[in-house]
Symmetry: C3
Subunit: 338 residues, 3 copies
């Protein structure tokens, strides 16, 4: 695909070559995200970071990624603070706001709204989540994390085995990740969920059509052994048709260190799209896993900065200039893992 | 007038010479707003962008204008997030906050509050709207747009004909624009509104006293022919004394392509202070005009960035330094109209 | 103490040597805060300014201090905009967000929460107020102001006399200031409050144990003469056990110019942690004092910028680099007092 000047709206825009290019650029961004070097390549550029739905993690991650490339960030964080509330069309909002910045990141509660906005925008738009529809940078950072975790274990995405656990019916992150994984070869999927929350037929069908192995499990212990990656999501009780159903499955899709030790291969990677719910009623991923070096959930969010820097650099076409504008960081930074 | 270090509170501060100077500087800002060049003239300077009332468009426009000159923006967007809610006086707030920035842009729901704030501030304050009172940068960008649109048609503001349409009684934008237009010579005003929402006597009186022709119309078709500019505003039904009155006028002050073609001279400019209400109950400016090249509403908001850059550059007295700090933009930008 | 890479969570971290170092660096920051020079020492660095409780003054002060050193600021201002609302633990929030910035400033309504957050953070954290617990930069700016005001009068903190007035029971600012003042020698404290709102025993005990003189007053006139500093705080009526108690003391702890002239030594410094309540029901510090040159309340907030710049420069270990990156300010700035 052509990145220069493009909108980033959906994972369906990417083929393997595009993914490979994004990951290669993300790798090049590491010295900046790790605060070894600083670049002023986008000094003078403006990101309009528009969140018409609450989000701390994604909003700050995009904003920081743009700052790391030297750019300014203008932010909008409230629906009620917006002209949308006064009956303005997305077309008008897009035409106006695209005159105020070089690129726009947008989250909106309505499915399809970001694409509609992008059509009228005069600058590139990156979808940071439009309702239940898409959140492509999340899927890319998940896939990038899988790729790096596997590489550290001498493996590749092709041929790997992954268990997807929890609410596979409504989880936007799982669906988008599956669409990207479908592009690879000979994967083995273990879909672990209550039957009421199993993955939609179109997702399962696409995986099968691409020749991947797909198995279904309605309890965790058999679903989580013999895999390379565990991708755990939250199962919200209100998603079940009745409280009786919810009660029946309560606690059956929670991972903790004991369950991990008993059922998983050594060095099985643990992932989660975050936030994980740490209230006692939830705990799909117990805090006793925090010291487990295979818990990759914070490497996922760290990788999110690399992916978002890469998307900015590719869309604004400055990849080759990033290093030319680099200088060493001279303030205190903790030594971090690359 | 003296711009250096001045507050910008009201359109009544400007004479024709001041307006001419602002527009000249706004013209010089075009290469930066169009992302051909970037300037770091205000690198290290801080704008405090204080919006005690919701606004996306004006807030982001001011913030981006300051970023385009290289400066930092600190933003406050909520009344309840403010010490004002704890009984602090505007005097105290102004004295404190003016120690945190080089210039302040302020919107506040109460008429006169920005002027009161400015009196105690130790740095220049720009009024971004104080209730029904003033919003000088809006009036300037409207006038600047009129000037440029007319120039492209071989005309000048002096001698031009303008129709003001809709709610002329409560519309702050219309009132301020009239005060600026009054400074010019031999204008022809067509005031088109329901009688219940006609322009206040003091505005009409001032136009007449300055020797301008003023005609009143209570329906649109005769009001909109033989003019150079249509300035359309929203007519909110709740402004009428009764629903009966509102019903009587519903739809009579809506402009669409058919009405335009039937009644307007070719190339009549269409303006609107925005946001326009695109709900079916409103539509004072129909979406079928979006492809009409004379629809200047998005050029208005684009021009807003130029006007706000000009105000910053003039008040902070850096006009002559802007170009000395310029360098070429090296990231992707769409080709835009100058 | 070691500043490099440290969290700043409590005034109990500081000894006299540390305080002296902070004040020395704060002095060096004056040319930047006064807009005579600008420094780009933290150009490329990112502050995450997280306010899970409303605050304009403290939030903007920290943000501007970071901008004055050349850095970017990413801001979060709402609890409901945060993953904390979705059941995420402070541990997870800290681990994630500390991957997005070089340093974090955090305000949170719960006592102890900032320290808990800091434990999981991979970057330094500065406490900007955690409920009734601590707000160390406020105590430092108060002490710094005392030090500078006394120096201008040929005096030092050692040996000085201070009256603390108002709600001494619940006032976080007073408690923290007392802990810092306790480190000095031979101070004379006059604690002026309604008996129901007198200072906690542990605070008074610590002052006495360090050899300071402490006297209690339940009315103002005798409490405010023969002191160098008046530190006035707000007495909220709802703090009293009954409305009868509140009525009994209403107006007895309000300072105005007449009271000042009648009871205070010439040049007694007037301080207040702000915001002061200017509603007629409050007015603990009357507006008629605004022209009194001894009113130091706005010098306090100005000094806050210096203190916060100093904390950033010390924790990020760039003190020696600030001046190397300096250049003259070339835009309009009002002449201010150093």
């Amino acid at each position: 695909m052509q990145f220069r000047g493009s909108h980033i709206l959906s994972v369906s825009q990417f083929d393997r070559e595009a993914i490979s290019r994004i990951f290669q650029v993300a790798n090049e961004m590491a010295p900046y995200a790790l605060r070894q070097q600083t670049s002023s390549v986008l000094s003078g550029a403006i990101l309009s970071n528009m969140f018409f739905e609450p989000s701390t993690r994604t909003r700050v991650s995009f904003g920081s990624a743009f700052n790391l490339l030297g750019g300014h960030v203008r932010e909008t964080t409230e629906v009620k603070a917006s002209s949308l509330a006064k009956g303005e069309s997305l077309y008008d909002t897009a035409r106006v706001l695209s005159g105020y910045s070089d690129i726009i990141v947008m989250r909106h509660p309505n499915s399809g709204s970001v694409a509609e906005f992008a059509e009228a925008s005069r600058v590139p738009v990156i979808n940071a989540g439009d309702g239940s529809n898409e959140h492509p940078s999340q899927a890319l950072l998940d896939l990038y994390t899988i790729s790096r975790e596997l590489a550290a274990r001498g493996k590749t995405i092709d041929g790997m085995r992954i268990a997807l656990i929890g609410d596979l019916k409504y989880g936007r992150a799982v669906h988008s990740l599956c669409k990207l994984l479908a592009l690879f070869d000979n994967l083995h999927f273990k879909l672990v969920s209550p039957p009421e929350l199993s993955a939609p037929d179109d997702i399962v069908g696409e995986l099968a059509a691409r020749g991947h192995a797909v198995q279904h499990y309605d309890e965790m212990s058999s679903g989580i052994h013999n895999v390379d990656i565990l991708y755990v999501t939250r199962t919200q009780e209100e998603r079940f048709p009745s409280q009786d159903e919810a009660d029946r499955y309560r606690g059956l899709f929670r991972l903790n260190q004991n369950v991990y030790t008993e059922h998983c291969e050594p060095n099985t990677v643990i992932m989660h799209p975050l936030p994980r719910d740490s209230r006692s009623s939830a705990q799909e991923l117990d805090a006793d896993l925090n010291q487990n070096p295979n818990l990759a959930i914070f490497r996922q969010t760290d990788n999110g900065v690399l992916i978002r820097m890469a998307l900015f650099a590719l869309v604004l076409d400055v990849v080759d200039q990033v290093h030319r504008n680099a200088r060493a960081v001279t303030w205190y930074t903790e030594k971090r893992d690359g």
